[in-house]
Symmetry: none
């Protein structure tokens, strides 16, 4: 069901993906979709929740045993890139179609993505505490650099047809980010 939604919305876009087409792709009747989702917006939110949720959880688990901020950052970028590189349609949904959200949805999206933001800021604070990153940096601003860079990188990748290896860019991206914040 969620897979069908990702496929249809990814290819057609949110506003061009009638519930009826998602239902068809999933092999159920239109009305049945409403047994799984509250409404159309809820589909988009659910896609993000499952995806980012899993990614966040995976990273949180890794962080329990890892202590080096730079390795943590590399892992955070890697998992995020991997998650989206694995499914082009999913990347289209998160990078392109999710942006069509209206204000009510944006609030929900914010709630979902906040824990991920938290992980980034956690790395930055920890790096500063350990004397690896500069004390002068504002972790909120630096967090936006980290997330903004990843976001822009994935968007560029998916908009150009997802032809090259996204995960292969990890080292260069991490290198830039680390240089940006380290002493």
């Amino acid at each position: 069901m969620l897979t069908a939604a990702i496929t249809v919305i990814g290819q057609a876009g949110y506003h061009n993906a009638p519930i009826s087409r998602i239902a068809k792709e999933a092999g159920v009747a239109d009305g049945t979709v409403y047994l799984y989702f509250k409404n159309k917006e809820d589909i988009l939110i659910s896609i993000l929740r499952e995806t980012i949720g899993q990614i966040t959880t995976r990273i949180e688990e890794y962080f329990e045993t890892e202590t080096d901020p730079i390795r943590k950052l590399r892992y955070l970028v890697t998992v995020y890139f991997e998650g989206l590189a694995a499914n082009k349609n999913l990347a289209l949904v998160t990078q392109i179609h999710l942006r069509q959200a209206d204000e009510a949805m944006r609030r929900q999206i914010g709630d979902i993505i906040r824990p991920y933001y938290g992980l980034i800021e956690h790395i930055l604070r920890e790096g500063i505490e350990k004397g690896i990153f500069r004390e002068s940096i504002d972790t909120r601003i630096a967090r936006r650099m980290v997330f903004g860079t990843m976001d822009e990188t994935i968007t560029a990748w998916v908009l150009t047809g997802a032809k090259y290896d996204l995960v292969g860019l990890t080292d260069q991206v991490v290198d830039l980010l680390v240089h940006g914040v380290k002493k």
Copy 2:
């Protein structure tokens, strides 16, 4: 006319801004809007063209006399931040509502923003040539870091109500970016 469009779309969003409301805000009849714009999409495109176009031109002129890549970068960030900080509704349009564009529009948006991308890459290449930035960086990837960081910063600012001074963040943002790429 363009001002009315920015105001209405900025506050209501593209899909929630009927042509009739834009016409009313501009004090003209509905049909008159079509003497200024080809269709509704053209309104969004026109807003971007005027805005980014002016910003890009201003930066290009400055670059004719400035030679230091880091000062160039600071100027590029400053002008961009200033341009959007000056008009919250405009920032809402470019950071939020413009993302609702469908594929046809995205192509046009790409055409408009490409020269700005070119300026960023120009700075990066020049910095490398002058031995200020690392030779190992990929200018396309680094460009995404620069643009992605600015983009994320402005989006965060406007989504939290544009309450603080965006331009005041320039130094910290530039500091992060420069650290990211310099030797």
Copy 3:
């Protein structure tokens, strides 16, 4: 549904018959009309298809047992007149409002009416073969006389208010047509 469409379009004309009025006449919601027809043009096409289709079928069946070309012609005219005399609104649609069709529709109309044209030409060829009609006549030109005469007769009838008995004209019309082509 089709009946409602014939009534409304017959009385108001194609361009003056909003979908909403057809829906109202049929006692359904506007959107429901689109469960029966692809779009507004399709309504007009469907009316013709049902009508001329039935008439053509009825004539074809009769032709299987009848061999005399003149009796065939009389039957062809009779059924056509009867079909339209039975429903003034239908006649208004076929004789008046259908002519508002644009090029794309005219092609579809042509496809529907062609079998009927074929029946007329069949009669003419058969009459010539049997030595009843003149060999010198061009069946295409004569077909236009036959159809044009019927068409003009029905149009005149419906435009003057359908006050007299259309079917009652059959003998005189057939008499003129037969004289036109017979030896």
Copy 4:
């Protein structure tokens, strides 16, 4: 002006021919069109009035010296065919686009075409009086045969691209019509 209207309406159709395009074709401003015509409908009416008017006048003049009903009929058909064969766009207007008229216009069209109908009925009555045509024919019904046959012939000619010589069909058409009514 009228020529421009015939060209534009003939090619694009009445509903697809904005006043602005007619004005452009005529090399004047939109508003200027209204100095020549009362409104858009008036353009269509004027085209018909000029055309049919001239044709009718020409035939009336010929009838003053000609006494043979069959030669009169041949002349009537010839002039009508010639008039439309000379200008394909005009034929498109009279045979196709004029049919989009609404009721008010149809009345005006009727007024214009009535004198032409009168000429046909005049020929028929005269032919009967002279003992050339059958006394049994109803002149109104026969007039519809004559006009309907011509109309259908011209429509078929223009809808198939006006590729063959319309006037060349005159003899065959007249032959069918004369046979239809003569003793």
